[in-house]
């Protein structure tokens, strides 16, 4: 009896070990858990290739596009859209995305990525890879209305187009009208532009703003894109070496100068401290951003109680530049090619959807015809900008966008540089230490880049 009991106990123990120990035998022994869930779906997809998948998976790093998608796109009946959203912070979005793309071939059809979003800073990495597919083959062929740079950015080295952008992102100087009146004596965009159209003038105005108790910018990194976009060389050269070009060095000098002189706060551009400056009691005169910035980043300014809706305006600023932009890329292996093509076509060619994006969402769309219509419409004005026709301003700025000197590492390089340079601006470290820390960060994130 005792022996039998002992044997039983021993058996129970070894069995329980086998169940949690080796995963493969456990999976074959215990099909109860996940097998039934996947089996009915799998044969349906393989047996009938004409019928498309029932789950549409979209990888994104924020809710911005999800909002537009849910409002303006009618999902075919029977298809569930599954959003997988991971924030960009600390490269989390890309880490998860890469993991999923590398496993794409082995994933069940309903778990495969159908479409994913990519940003200007790293779109090349994905567009120029086998993990995205030719959208012209899927049926998206009409790019006549889009801005050429958006197509170029989403193409691989051979010019095969892998995705589209639903927005065009010329970036402008966004200023507080009331503060501009106080500092410059005017809030008229043309006059403000004339007073801020070069860095010398910008720096001089910063001193005046400081004298009146204002900040010129809310973060030392606010002007980063204005400089970096006009850099004459990519951050990583052909031999894989990190080279900080003159534009970046100019930004570094300005960031330190502005911090030392108290023209700016020092904080991350996405931080609460930075956006707190957009409240009515904020003391900051200038922000920089494209159309997406209004709704996506300036929520505090639109706050009904503490905000300052309508107290803003835009002008070109010291230098033309663009910032970001979200592209929709078609993942290789998608089991919903028709829907995929339909989404892309809708967001670049459907004039009603594009008009709604401008009217309701304050976007600057990737449809030149629609943009031109709004730019010429005397009745159109953006209330957030005190009735200014922002589309007309962006229309002019869009002509200057050059998508060049980009690398696949731009996001990590930019994020790291801003973070480590801030420590120097704050006086926590010496310049040499800040740069050494930055190089260490690069070695950890992208080991193949050669740092000085």
């Amino acid at each position: 009896m005792k022996k039998a009991l002992a044997l039983l106990l021993a058996l129970v123990m070894t069995l329980s070990l086998a169940a949690c120990g080796a995963s493969e035998p456990a999976a074959t022994q215990a099909p109860a858990a996940d097998k039934p869930a996947t089996t009915p779906a799998a044969p349906a997809a393989t047996e009938a290739p004409a019928e498309e998948g029932k789950v549409f998976n979209i990888y994104a790093w924020n809710e911005e596009f999800k909002g537009f998608f849910e409002k303006y796109y009618t999902v075919p009946e029977g298809v569930t859209v599954n959003w997988i959203i991971n924030p960009s912070d600390g490269n989390m979005y890309q880490t998860k995305l890469v993991e999923a793309l590398l496993n794409q071939a082995d994933a069940p059809d309903d778990e495969k990525i159908d479409m994913f979003l990519a940003e200007a800073d790293y779109i090349m990495k994905y567009a120029d890879s086998e993990y995205t597919q030719d959208i012209t083959a899927l049926g998206v062929t009409d790019f006549s209305n889009t801005y050429p740079y958006t197509v170029q950015a989403a193409s691989d080295a051979n010019g095969v187009v892998k995705g589209v952008s639903f927005q065009c992102c010329p970036s402008a100087l966004i200023y507080r009208r009331s503060i501009a009146k106080d500092v410059l004596g005017t809030d008229d965009p043309a006059e403000v532009q004339a007073l801020l159209n070069s860095w010398d003038k910008f720096n001089a105005v910063a001193a005046e703003a400081k004298a009146k108790g204002y900040y010129m910018t809310s973060s030392e990194a606010e002007t980063f894109r204005v400089f970096s976009n006009n850099g004459e060389a990519p951050l990583v050269d052909e031999s894989g070496k990190l080279v900080l070009n003159d534009a970046i060095r100019a930004w570094q000098a300005q960031a330190k100068d502005f911090t030392d002189k108290g023209y700016t706060l020092t904080c991350d551009i996405w931080s609460d401290e930075c956006t707190a400056q957009m409240f009515a009691d904020g003391k900051t005169m200038c922000f920089f951003g494209p159309a997406w910035y209004f709704n996506f980043c300036m929520g505090n300014a639109q706050d009904p109680d503490k905000g300052c809706y309508g107290d803003w305006a835009i002008c070109e600023g010291p230098a033309a530049h663009f910032w970001g932009g979200t592209w929709l890329l078609a993942a290789t292996g998608s089991d919903n090619p028709t829907m995929l093509a339909d989404i892309m076509d809708t967001f670049i060619n459907d004039e009603e959807v594009c008009s709604n994006l401008i009217k309701n969402e304050a976007q600057f769309t990737n449809n030149q015809t629609v943009n031109a219509k709004f730019a010429e419409d005397p009745t159109y004005g953006n209330d957030f900008l005190g009735g200014q026709n922002d589309v007309a301003v962006f229309l002019e700025l869009a002509k200057n966008i050059k998508f060049e000197n980009k690398t696949i590492y731009d996001q990590e390089l930019t994020e790291g540089l801003q973070g480590y340079w801030r420590e120097y601006c704050d006086g926590e470290v010496t310049e040499a230490e800040a740069m050494a820390n930055y190089y260490k960060y690069i070695n950890e994130m992208d080991p193949e880049i050669v740092t000085p």
Binding site: A6, A10, M13, T14, L17, G21, A22, D89, G90, N91, Q94, T95, V98, L101, L102, K125, Y126, S129, Y131, T266, C267, S271, D272, E273, A276, I408, E412, G419, R422, E423, D426, E428, V429, A432, E433, A436, N437, Y439, K440, Y441, E444, M445, D446, P447, E448, P452
Partner: protein, 313 residues
């Protein structure tokens, strides 16, 4: 009959109850082998390879010998050897939390177990001091991050009380970041240590204390001559587990500084350093080399602590 008689003792010789013992302890050794020993060897093996991911491309694995270790110990342009700096950070952060943790826990354990004090509501206090340990370290860290952020309540409070004019960026100053990390680790763990030490003290024969009392020993004498020597095994255990936990410090500083170990990487611990290599680039070579070094250091330190505390004079 004869045959049976001969067979019986022979059979008895083979009956060994030891095999049941081995069978019962086998699960541990099998799991240990699969989940600990094998990965441990794999880590050593990986540390000799160049093996990382660049975006969507995989580089390696290529055998590079000791190159990863050499890289780890090569000083940067300012003469800093990274891994030593992070080891230093880890030790400072650990000591800052562990010293108050053990001292306060020992004090509390003595108060709670003292038959003279007879503190009322012991259960309540024990629960309260243990409570922080029930919160996830990352959640606790997030809470502190929110409390001490530039626009957070602590800054607002200090500004309202007129102590500061401009918000203090707690996460840009070395001493405050480190201080906060130590404070959090202390708060998280002192309850746990108190409970352990109390169990240790309660395990000591009460007669010892009474005898000491009768012989006229003062409280201090009782503590140093009776409690402490008899508590040594538990204290050693506590210190070693705290040490290993401390060397592996990760979640609190990682969440508090968003993985950057600000400022000047002065709150970057060894495991955060390891994580930096694994997070995006999946650099198993460098991460393996760091792991091996941490393994060796942890082993040596544990041995040292064990020896120094168990040595009889």
């Amino acid at each position: 009959m004869n045959q049976l008689c001969e067979k019986a003792p022979a059979r008895r010789k083979t009956i060994s109850y030891a095999k049941w013992g081995y069978l019962f302890i086998a699960p541990f050794f099998i799991t240990y082998g699969i989940f600990k020993l094998y990965p441990l060897f794999l880590t050593f093996y990986n540390s000799f390879f160049e093996n990382y991911r660049s975006g969507l491309k995989q580089v390696g694995p290529n055998f590079v010998g000791l190159a990863n270790y050499i890289k780890l110990f090569t000083p940067d342009a300012n003469g800093t050897i990274d891994i030593l700096k992070y080891a230093g950070n880890t030790v400072v952060l650990w000591l800052g939390g562990a010293i108050p943790q053990i001292v306060i826990a020992l004090l509390l354990a003595i108060f709670f177990t003292s038959y003279r004090l007879r503190i009322k509501g012991q259960q309540f206090f024990k629960t309260v001091i243990y409570m922080p340990n029930l919160i996830m370290a990352s959640a606790f860290s997030m809470l502190f991050y929110t409390l001490f952020s530039n626009v957070g309540p602590v800054n607002q409070l200090l500004a309202q009380m007129g102590i500061i004019d401009a918000p203090v960026d707690f996460f840009a100053i070395q001493i405050t970041v480190r201080g906060l990390i130590c404070l959090m680790n202390f708060l998280l763990w002192f309850g746990n240590t108190t409970i352990l030490l109390m169990a240790g003290i309660m395990g000591i024969d009460q007669n010892m204390f009474e005898a000491a009392n009768i012989d006229g020993a003062s409280s201090t004498q009782t503590f140093f001559k009776v409690t402490l020597p008899l508590l040594t095994p538990i204290l050693v255990y506590t210190i070693i587990t705290a040490l290993i936990g401390g060397l592996q410090m990760f979640d609190v500083p990682q969440v508090l500084t968003n993985g950057a170990g600000t400022p000047n990487r002065s709150s970057m611990t060894l495991i955060m350093f390891l994580n930096n290599y694994l997070k995006t680039s999946k650099n198993y070579g460098m991460a393996g080399a760091i792991s091996v070094i941490i393994f060796i250091v942890t082993g040596l330190l544990s041995l040292l602590v064990y020896r120094s505390l168990t040595q009889k004079d």
